[in-house]
């Protein structure tokens, strides 16, 4: 399946991109597995592993690491919010 992955704020700067369309290997079915898959790229992607209080949203709703993924999902990684 294919998902759209978004990065925001400090995490966007750390990984050097704001979004990517990603075709996932068959064994990746959850947010946590996607996260591990991205961290495994190494280099700048370590930022996803070291980020304090990483937040994850699936289809624009906050999601837990065990949330399942399906084709066409939009997955966002970002630091704790600081608006207002």
């Amino acid at each position: 399946m294919s998902v759209k992955v978004l990065y925001f704020a400090g995490l966007r700067e750390a990984v050097g991109q704001s979004s990517e369309q990603l075709a996932l290997p068959a064994q990746i079915g959850s947010v946590g597995q996607l996260h591990a898959h991205l961290v495994a790229r190494g280099g700048a992607w370590q930022a996803l592993a070291t980020a304090k209080n990483l937040r994850i949203a699936v289809n624009q709703k906050i999601a837990a690491v065990d949330a399942p993924l399906k084709d066409g999902d939009e997955v966002a990684f970002f630091p704790p919010v600081t608006g207002g």
């Binding site: 978004l6 925001f8 704020a9 400090g10 966007r12 209080n53 949203a57 624009q60 709703k61 906050i62 966002a76 970002f78 630091p79 704790p80 919010v81 600081t82 608006g83 207002g84």
Partner: protein, 150 residues
């Protein structure tokens, strides 16, 4: 209900007036404006850039307002949050809540601000004399949001 994420400034008086126009059942309008301060965590702030997650931002603001409506007598509400580049003294965010009674208006307005601070996907980057830095989330904001639980 009006939710807007915009780069343009807003007019508090116009937004308050819009909520009450043509109505005579509203007894209380509580509003809050957050502004860019010239210092934060001990450093001078010359400029601030606000990033957000288009789409999710509006949804999360609408959900927060709906949650407030479920808890208090909220007749109408407006939330406007600016994005892009801002300077000290600039408006950042506006929350206006109209209700029959003041207790509901105050509580709902503060609740929306506290939840916005901890749930709506906005991020601030400050320009200080030492360079640019992403603002860290505050524990005090988490505590403020916690007080509405249970």
């Amino acid at each position: 209900m009006k939710i807007s994420v915009q780069s343009e400034d807003f007019d508090v008086g116009a937004e308050c007036a819009a909520l009450t126009r043509g109505r005579t059942d509203i007894g209380a309008v509580a509003s809050f404006v957050g502004l860019v301060r010239d210092s934060n965590d001990g450093a001078g702030v010359a400029r601030m850039t606000l990033e957000h997650y288009p789409g999710m931002t509006e949804k999360s603001l609408a959900e927060i307002v709906e949650e407030a409506r479920g808890r208090w007598d909220v007749m109408d509400a407006t939330v406007i949050h600016r994005v892009g580049e801002l300077r000290p003294g600039d408006n950042i965010v506006l929350v206006v809540v109209a209700s029959a009674h003041r207790g509901d208006a105050f509580a709902a307005c503060e609740f929306i601000m506290d939840y916005l601070k901890t749930r709506a996907p906005f991020w601030k980057k400050e320009k200080t004399p030492e360079g640019e830095r992403w603002v860290d989330a505050r524990e005090s904001d988490d505590r403020a949001a916690e007080k509405w639980k249970g």
